[in-house]
């Protein structure tokens, strides 16, 4: 699957785009824990799967495109 990371998530993962292969569909949270250090310390985040809002409990497989955005405050 393709994972696009934004803002602080890209900063922590040191990458803004990643490709991850999974054998069976896995919850997004598990995958993000592996690529984004301190992921669990973020109580809020915006997760999109194939352009649609989802949660990080959603199962994702290789064909999915996942976007992970932080929740900002907007100054």
């Amino acid at each position: 699957m393709r994972i696009k990371l934004f803002g602080v998530f890209a900063h922590l993962a040191r990458a803004s785009e990643l490709t991850v292969e999974v054998e069976t569909p896995r919850p997004i949270r598990e995958i993000l824990r592996e690529v984004v250090p301190r992921y669990d310390e973020f109580p809020d985040k915006i997760i999109m799967v194939n352009g649609k809002p989802a949660s990080d409990e959603t199962l994702a497989s290789n064909e999915d495109e996942i976007k992970v955005l932080p929740v900002l405050s907007g100054g």
Partner: protein, 621 residues
């Protein structure tokens, strides 16, 4: 009382009179400070007056957090009846003047009357002088602050206006420390109308605190929590500028006078572009998050950027070069103009030119940096016809040249950096903010995007749609209580909580350590609701009761057309759905269908004192 001085410094410039006035402890307890105190003063004392006349009052209000070691607690509220909107106007800024005003022994400073010639005020504890500013008038805000520090030393807090405020530009702000500014609805023009160029404060007293030990410990803990936050290091890289990429990604960027939500040159003005140009970082007092990112602009001058300025003066004008955008931003700061409203006004001029409503050859088109730059100067100095008209703000300009359907304002205040074709909750936040279209009180858009209803069938073709749900109104109220209420009363910066996740539980605990008064969350919410209802009553009274729910509508543009590109292309808000959300908002607030607080609500919030006055203008439900 601990934590509050219970004293307001009053200076009347017409008569040269200075007075330190006690105010009752009950007012401190129920309005806390900052915005709460300012709203109370304006309700009691500024009624039916011309905002730029001698009877308006300029309020500089602090809260219990100020002057003490508190997380990002170096803010101050500046307030007055707004010349831009005709209603309640305020703003906050981070400034050493807040620290010094409190250390001088006051919770607030109220300036009344009008000086005959330009003056500035110098406060040194109990010693107050009104001094000639003949030599400062005409200088930029940066130059004025520099000169005043040469005279009074560096250990002072300075608030000043630039030519924008002097020339009564309706969206002039008050500036401090080269780049901190506040008072979007023309509070700088009110200062200019009083011929007050600057306020310089030096305070040396110790503020009485209930439990100093707890205060120091809590502050240290909070300070460390900020440093250890997983968001901290990226925040230090980009600050609010990270929002540019974010908004562009979510079709929420203001592009070409809000006609679009996605900008083709976003990459060249975003946080990453800024990082490449950054030369230093500045911040407000007592803050370890220093979010003012300083770059060198196209004219080799320092310019302090944040998201709002760059979106409104960049993508909203079709400008894709960050060093040019930085020039406009620096000029706005020096001249003392609100950069958000300035970008809104120039964006409107550009669209009006494109549509043939403005034919003036000096009017810039989208993407024309040179003419935009010239227009900024013409606005600040009220030169040329176009400059003078644009100095009046988008609402008045559109009434004059036409184009109300693309005039981006609420209640006369220009919209800040979020384009809401697809975001009804954020539109509601703009519609119901206490000062007009400002985002500070309820930045609900991230929550709105993150909680959009999930679709079960993920593999279907993606359909983007606008969603309404009554929870959105509740979320707006909740955020207004915290952001527009608690933070504005304390007064402290909300960013440690919202940006790096500092636990909000610190705030009532800090407040208790400072004042010795235990505020439950319920007490804080009630105080916030009280302030919102009082401010709403103020608007209704100052509009002589000519008030209806349409005052809380977002700009017409968001109900029609939709963005020109991106996934939300062609989608827009639905008026009847918005109306339902608005009714839900009123219900939660205890306001009637016109958006006026009910009698019972006022009584419950201990605002019974506004009823007799308000009833002279409207019948209460």
């Amino acid at each position: 009382m601990k934590g509050w001085w219970g004293k307001i410094l009053r200076i009347n410039l017409s008569e040269g009179r200075v007075k330190a006035q006690d105010y009752p402890p009950e007012a401190a307890l129920s309005f806390i400070g900052g915005r709460g105190l300012a709203a109370k003063i304006l309700w009691d004392e500024v009624k039916g007056v011309d905002p730029l006349g001698p009877n308006n009052k300029l309020v500089f209000a602090c809260g219990p957090f100020n002057g003490l070691p508190t997380p990002s607690g170096g803010k101050m509220v500046v307030a007055a009846k707004s010349p831009l909107t005709g209603g309640y106007g305020d703003g906050n800024l981070g400034t050493m003047a807040s620290v010094h005003l409190r250390k001088a022994g006051y919770d607030a400073l109220v300036v009344e009357g009008v000086a005959r010639r330009p003056v500035y005020i110098y406060v040194e504890d109990g010693n107050v002088n009104i001094l000639s500013a003949d030599g400062l008038w005409g200088k930029t805000a940066f130059e004025a602050e520099k000169s005043l520090k040469e005279v009074h030393g560096r250990n002072v807090g300075v608030l000043s206006i630039g030519p924008g405020g002097e020339n009564l530009v309706k969206y002039a702000v008050i500036v401090s420390q080269e780049g901190r500014s506040g008072g979007r609805p023309g509070i700088g023009a009110v200062m200019g109308s009083k011929k007050l160029k600057a306020v310089v404060i030096r305070g040396s007293k110790e503020i009485p605190v209930a439990d100093k030990e707890s205060l120091t410990r809590l502050n240290q803990e909070a300070y460390n929590a900020v440093l250890n936050s997983p968001s901290y290091s990226f925040w230090r890289r980009q600050g609010t500028m990270a929002a540019l990429e974010w908004c562009n990604e979510n079709s929420a960027l203001p592009v070409r006078n809000f006609s679009d939500g996605v900008f083709e040159f976003a990459r060249s003005i975003d946080g990453y572009a800024m990082e490449g140009m950054k030369i230093s970082q500045r911040g407000c007092p007592y803050c370890n998050m220093t979010c003012g990112n300083v770059v060198l602009d196209a004219e080799a001058r320092e310019s302090e950027l944040d998201y709002e300025n760059v979106s409104l003066l960049g993508s909203n004008l079709g400008l894709g070069k960050l060093n040019e955008v930085s020039v406009l931003n620096r000029l706005a700061d020096e001249l003392g103009l609100d950069s958000i409203s300035l970008g809104g006004v120039i964006g409107f001029v550009m669209e009006a030119k494109e549509r043939g409503l403005i034919k003036d050859p000096e009017a810039p088109e989208f993407g024309d940096f040179k003419k935009a730059r010239e227009l900024v100067l013409n606005i600040a100095y009220r030169r040329t016809d176009l400059g003078r008209q644009a100095a009046e703000g988008v609402k008045r300009l559109s009434e004059r040249v036409g184009g109300k359907e693309f005039a981006m304002h609420v209640k006369g205040l220009e919209v800040s950096g979020y384009n809401c074709f697809a975001y009804p909750a954020m539109a509601l936040a703009y519609g119901t903010s206490s000062i007009g279209a400002h985002h500070k009180e309820a930045w609900v858009i991230a929550w709105e995007i993150g909680t959009a209803p999930m679709e079960v069938e993920r593999r279907q073709a993606v359909r983007y749609s606008v969603s309404y749900n009554p929870e959105k109104a509740a979320k707006v109220v909740e955020l207004q209580r915290l952001r527009g209420g608690m933070y504005e009363m304390l007064t402290a910066c909300r960013l440690p909580w919202v940006e790096v996740g500092l636990s909000i539980e610190y705030y009532p605990r800090l407040l208790e350590a400072i004042t010795g008064v235990k505020y439950s969350w319920d007490d804080i919410y009630r105080a916030a609701d009280r302030v919102y209802a009082l401010i709403r009553a103020y608007w209704v009274r100052e509009f002589n009761g000519r008030w209806g729910r349409e005052m809380d509508y977002p700009p017409e543009r968001w109900f029609t057309g939709g963005p020109k590109s991106g996934p939300f292309k062609g989608q827009h808000l639905d008026r009847s759905e918005y109306d339902k959300l608005l009714s839900e908002y009123y219900r939660l607030r205890g306001w009637d269908e016109r958006g006026i607080p009910r009698r019972e609500t006022l009584e419950n919030l201990n605002l019974g004192f506004v009823i007799p006055d308000l009833e002279k203008y409207v019948e209460l439900n």
